[in-house]
Symmetry: C2
Subunit: 193 residues, 2 copies
Amino acid sequence: MSDLERLVQLLSKLPGLGPRSGRRAALALLKRRETLLEPLAAALAAAARNIRACSECGNLDTTDPCSICADARRDPGLLCVVEDVADLWAIERTKSFAGRYHVLGGTLSAIDGVGPDELRIPKLVERARGAREVVIALNATVEGQTTAHYVAERLGETGASVTRLAHGVPVGGELDYLDEGTLAAALKARRPL
Amino acid sequence: MSDLERLVQLLSKLPGLGPRSGRRAALALLKRRETLLEPLAAALAAAARNIRACSECGNLDTTDPCSICADARRDPGLLCVVEDVADLWAIERTKSFAGRYHVLGGTLSAIDGVGPDELRIPKLVERARGAREVVIALNATVEGQTTAHYVAERLGETGASVTRLAHGVPVGGELDYLDEGTLAAALKARRPL
């Protein structure tokens, strides 16, 4: 396989890219050698060398513990359980969470052989013993909710209070386009105006 | 900027990816270090080191002249003019062209300052002097066709016969969904059955 075919093949494996867009990406890279190709090669090499999972929370960072776990201003008594680092980033972008995280790295799945140990749940239970509250911020999918129930049960013994994200109408969302489940949940959880 | 932010930023610049899919791609890479991240870093470095534009036709390859120009079985009397290496690949996939190529690398654009010299048209004219036929396979867009007309005019002096791709109904296409221009062209170019 030529260098070019190999590059296209690997780019095609990125999420969101396929064989066709992989080819386009390879050509774009080769057209922009100094500004894109070489910097990306260097960034990937640096990432491979420097980025690791935080042994405390599972976040990805160049330091271990990660910059969030090492930040003394972040409340160690408030933990937020997320499925993935992408979800951690999404919550960080809201700038409205001052606690720490616990990244499970997936959801429970008997079929794929993902059990509590693979999801670092024993470590979560250990961390939760010192915590006041654990917010479960898993995806509102079947897999996410199954995992959430299991996690909540396991956290029962820790003494931390276990909460979950609210369901409701997305900000800026139109009722007409909302599914019935969300709308019913928003109605049930209505609040004084 | 952290290593991770830098990686996301560069991935987001790939065609077909944005900030969100750039983040997803970065996480996918970090989850698959040995099978994706490290091979991609190596493939990019190899591409930066080894792949160059063929000085004859403009194709991208690890050799100069490229493997197509160097292939004695490919008819040097038949040239195919394409806008981009992606178009060259598209024609190669048909396995129905046994000549050689000339990659312009874009279309004429007064606004962007792309003139005949930027598109390697003098080199094309030079190559066409030794050729029997030049097939112009530029995109059927306004820019592509403007460039095609200019190229055809410049090739007038070379003695090579200048042809273009046929317009018509795409194979497997439904008439009902086809634009009028294509259908009119297909009707005009009808052939005995």
